[in-house]
């Protein structure tokens, strides 16, 4: 059974934000109201962090999708209706039709990766023609978050089955990975394409001491 994960090389990442845009386009994330930046939804965010002490300060900008916690994801633990759970491949889906919008998971998630639809999403003139038919448009009152472009995995699996073969290594690619100009984002099976990435000496995960075993693994800068 695959265990899908992501490796983000912060040495390669320039924080250009292409992944944020590609993700929003792929997953029908609405543009949002510029007057309410607090209600803005982006599944892939660039998390800013300050490193070092004055005067030797530098910024770390880390692309941060849902971390897909491997061990007891806090959002799944608090969800009263099983709208979010850990599936057999370790993905943490969000089922919009099941969600009642209680927002427990927003408060539970230590990575701030869950987003609530405060209003009905709007897609002004040319954007409504670019909606992805493989992904639903979420309505007001439900949570949403990154699910590692699961619809792409289904396409890969169907194509492979129709051609009578197993899915190839690296065939399942997420939108953020594809859009990354410096190839900082790598995606794949933690026991396949990304085997050994956890053992990399530069590897770390966000809020490691919580013990949630996130499947988004960062490789820190060599010049630190």
């Amino acid at each position: 059974m695959s265990r899908w994960g992501m490796a983000v090389d912060l040495d390669r990442c320039t924080a250009c934000g292409a992944c944020t845009v590609a993700c929003a386009q792929e997953n029908n994330v609405a543009l949002g109201n510029p007057d309410r930046p607090d209600q803005l939804i982006r599944w892939m965010e660039i998390l800013p962090a300050e490193r070092g002490k004055y005067p030797e300060v530098s910024a770390r900008l880390a692309p941060s999708p849902c971390q897909h916690c491997d061990r007891e994801p806090p959002c799944a633990r608090v969800c009263p209706v099983y709208a979010t759970y850990r599936n057999v491949e370790g993905l943490i889906p969000q089922i919009y039709e099941q969600c009642i919008g209680c927002r427990y998971c927003v408060n539970a998630c230590p990575y701030t990766c869950k987003h609530f639809n405060w209003s009905r999403p709007e897609f002004p003139a040319p954007f409504e023609r670019g909606l992805n038919p493989d992904v639903s448009v979420r309505n007001a009152g439900v949570m949403e978050k990154c699910n590692f472009c699961y619809h792409r995995l289904q396409v890969v699996r169907d194509t492979a089955a129709q051609e009578g073969r197993e899915p190839k290594l690296g065939e399942y690619r997420t939108a953020c990975q594809e859009s990354c100009p410096t190839k900082a984002i790598r995606f794949g099976d933690l026991d396949g394409e990304l085997e050994g990435v956890r053992e990399n000496e530069r590897a770390f995960t966000l809020l490691e001491d919580l013990g949630l075993m996130p499947k988004v693994i960062y490789l820190k800068e060599k010049t630190s």
Binding site: Y85, N87, V88, L91, P93, I95, Y96, E97, Q98, D134, V135, S136, N147, Y150, H151, Q154, R157, D158, A161, Q162
Partner: protein, 173 residues
């Protein structure tokens, strides 16, 4: 003060109601005038995919085009009103307008025909059983989630069970 209700308006409403009742009672069949008879075609040993060509391809239309019908129905229509309607369409070069799909999935369900027919090798009648004996075009019915779960959860011996997953994310995303 309430606005007076005019006589013609009352008559109009009555007439509309009456017309609606008559229209329901004598439903004239699909818009193109073709009362497609599934049972007759199946008795002639015609495979479902001979007409429903797009079932293997998610992007293609699953309801037959005019050329699909005229590919077989080349002879003079005779007395059959359905064949006469088809000949009329062929003369005009107009595509038949079929009424509705027989099973409609809710908007939030992502269902793939190729995944079930081509990958899992399911028979069409597993879900569309009612068309086997249908002499009229099928009416739309909603498929409940229990019908899907029947295969996905409780029939591990079914043909596609090796790949069928019992996971919400498979259909709701």
């Amino acid at each position: 003060m309430r606005a007076p209700v005019s006589g013609p308006a009352v008559l109009g409403a009555l007439a509309a109601g009456l017309f609606g009742a008559v229209a329901v009672a004598t439903w004239a069949g699909p818009p193109s005038g073709i009362r497609f008879n599934h049972a007759a075609h199946l008795r002639a040993k015609i495979d479902c995919t001979s007409c429903h060509l797009g079932v293997m391809d998610p992007a293609e239309a699953r309801l037959p085009l005019l050329e699909t019908c005229t590919g077989c129905h080349k002879d003079a229509p005779g007395a059959n009103p359905g064949k006469q309607a088809l000949a009329r369409l062929a003369a005009e070069g107009a595509e038949p307008r079929w009424p509705v799909p027989s099973v409609r999935q809710p908007d939030h369900v992502f269902f793939s025909h190729p995944r079930h027919v081509d990958v899992a090798k399911l028979e069409c009648t597993v879900c569309h059983g009612e068309v086997v004996n249908a002499t009229e075009p099928p009416r739309t019915r909603r498929m409940s989630m229990y019908a899907c779960e029947g295969c996905h959860a409780r029939h591990p011996e079914s043909a596609g069970a090796t790949r069928a997953r019992f996971d919400c994310l498979e259909c709701h995303r």
